[in-house]
């Protein structure tokens, strides 16, 4: 039962999210089994809820890769500057008129931004020699703050409406998702998850420290680079499409680890499912609790994810020993 629970909950949340909203859908079950029969269900809600699953999966696995590659319990795209870099890359390309929101171009720009800022975080954190968790986190927070400011400045200066608002880039929204701009984020998510699955056994060995991982046959710098690229592709695709959504990258892998243990092969699938579940629930809450207004989804994910994280840390567990 434990094995299937998040999947069952995700399916239930998916259906609930399709059903719930400002407009009542008549004959819901009939409309559901007849694709295209109801415009609100099939043109608006279905792409949106599907996007929630994909984005949640992408951010959950991106967080898992960040934690595994850094061997650090609090690493995640937002902490490493990856999410802010993805926002900056996307907002710069969109506001300069080079690409459209949700296009493959915007996703590519976001991915490049994510990759560059993550690389910058790693470079600056190791400038005085070996890479420590402490310096990585401090530098990551600083890089994140700098690029979040750049995003604010760039979006305020942008004349194009589709450069979105600072609220979109810092708190996220799935409101403008369409079936068309789902394809790009679906592609980057599948690529990133496939890479994560392939390098998962090496991430298991990396948890024993760089030296022991090397003794076991892991090319540590290469695996770390591959993980960095994969997490940038995942976070870049998600953030450039729906903005930054907090806590998924941190909470989803920890919840998955708490339930299923530390094996990264298992965690790739379960972090994706739990990430998807949190975002679907958060999106449903964000568009229903303050009707007719819609809250930024980042507010709901923070409210859902943060207490779970506090609970995991507060209760003694041996899944991730931090001291």
């Amino acid at each position: 039962m434990k094995k299937w629970l998040p999947g069952i909950l995700l399916a239930a949340a998916f259906l609930t999210s399709l059903y719930v909203g400002a407009t009542q859908i008549d004959n819901f079950w009939s409309a559901l089994v007849n694709p295209g029969s109801n415009e609100i269900l099939w043109q608006i809600r279905f792409p949106r809820v599907t996007a929630a699953v994909i984005v949640g999966a992408a951010l959950g696995v991106a967080g898992l890769l960040a934690q595994g590659a850094c061997n650090n319990a609090v690493a995640e795209p937002a902490i490493l500057g990856t999410a802010a870099g993805a926002s900056f890359g996307a907002v710069l390309a969109i506001s300069s008129g080079v690409v459209q929101v949700g296009s493959l171009g915007a996703i590519a720009s976001g991915t490049v931004g994510a990759l560059l800022t993550t690389a910058l975080t790693f470079r600056l954190a190791s400038i005085r020699g070996s890479l420590s968790s402490f310096t990585l986190i401090i530098v990551g927070i600083a890089i994140s703050a700098i690029f979040t400011s750049f995003v604010g400045i760039a979006s305020a200066m942008a004349s194009r409406s589709d450069a979105r608002s600072i609220s979109f880039w810092s708190l996220g929204s799935l409101a403008l998702i369409t079936a068309d701009n789902l394809i790009g984020v679906a592609i980057t998510t599948v690529i990133g998850i496939a890479i994560a699955y392939l390098i998962a056994p090496s991430l298991d060995r990396l948890s024993l420290g760089d030296s022991t991982a090397f003794h076991l046959g892991v090319n540590v710098s290469r695996i770390r680079l591959i993980a960095l690229i994969a997490l940038s592709v995942l976070a870049g695709g998600a953030v450039s499409t729906v903005g930054s959504i907090a806590f998924i990258g941190l909470a989803a892998p920890h919840i998955a680890r708490f339930i299923y243990g530390p094996s990264h092969r298992l965690l790739v699938a379960h972090s994706a499912i739990i990430g998807g579940l949190i975002v679907v629930v958060a999106d449903t809450l964000s568009r229903t609790i303050a009707q007719p207004n819609e809250l930024p989804i980042g507010l709901a994910t923070a409210l859902l994810g943060a207490p779970v994280l506090i609970a995991l840390v507060a209760f003694k567990n041996n899944v991730w020993r931090t001291q």
């Binding site: 060995r205 892991v218 090319n219 530390p262 991730w320």
Partner: protein
């Protein structure tokens, strides 16, 4: 066979290892002893391929560790580091299986009873045994062990000595160890390092009789028999 040919390792402008040569044949146990900070662990790290010597060469079965890809190197040498820490809650069995098939090794090291325990709950001595088991499970011709008896009680020490002696027919074993009683029980050959230089090298009988070793390392203590 490990061949170390006149290597020098410099760190922060200081010669940690100077002009060191040694041949460690298959089917033998060689132990490096010496005071803290004399370069023993650095030497082991260089042989494992973690660091490159500044001068000289190291080969393991004709392969240069520093030039060999990590995956290929893992099939010719295994190493158990000192004070292995575990951050993720894998079971003992899962950790050993990262090296290779686990059942025989778990049994040989007396780990069967704790095979399903999380490594994050182990004592220092148990963690050390798990690290050794993982290295042995790699089934490589060369086994490098950094203070394998650290944290072990008298009974565990005796078991590990018996196990390591049993392994030597299949491996070239090189280890760094402080426990001189265990060193004399284990070693076919002992090298004594002081300030990065070999001050004596030979059989256990040679080392026991070496006045230089007594003066530099063992002090006035009687060498255990």
């Amino acid at each position: 066979m490990i061949t170390i040919d006149e290597i020098t390792i410099v760190r922060d402008g200081r010669e940690i290892i100077y002009d060191y040569s040694e041949q460690i044949p298959a089917g033998s146990i060689t132990v490096i002893v010496g005071p803290n900070g004399c370069g023993k662990s650095t030497l082991l790290a260089a042989i494992a391929g973690d660091i490159a010597p500044d001068k000289g060469t190291i080969t393991i079965d004709e392969m240069h560790p520093i030039l060999t890809p990590a995956s290929a190197l893992a099939s010719i040498r295994a190493m158990a580091v000192q004070n292995q820490s575990f951050t993720l809650g894998f079971t003992v069995r899962e950790i050993v299986e990262m090296g290779g098939p686990s059942e025989d090794v778990l049994q040989a090291l007396g780990l069967t009873e704790i095979a399903d325990r999380l490594v994050t709950t182990l004592s220092g001595g148990e963690s050390q045994r798990v690290a050794i088991a993982q290295a042995i499970a790699q089934k490589t011709p060369v086994l490098l062990l950094d203070e394998p008896l650290a944290g072990a009680g008298p009974e565990e020490t005796e078991k590990l000595i018996t196990l390591l002696r049993g392994l030597k027919s299949r491996y070239a074993v090189l280890l760094v160890e402080h426990d001189m009683q265990a060193v004399f029980a284990l070693a076919d050959r002992i090298s004594v390092l002081a300030e990065g230089r070999i001050i004596a090298s030979g059989s256990t009988a040679d080392i026991r009789l070496s006045a230089e070793v007594r003066a530099a390392y063992l002090g006035e203590e009687e060498v255990p028999c």
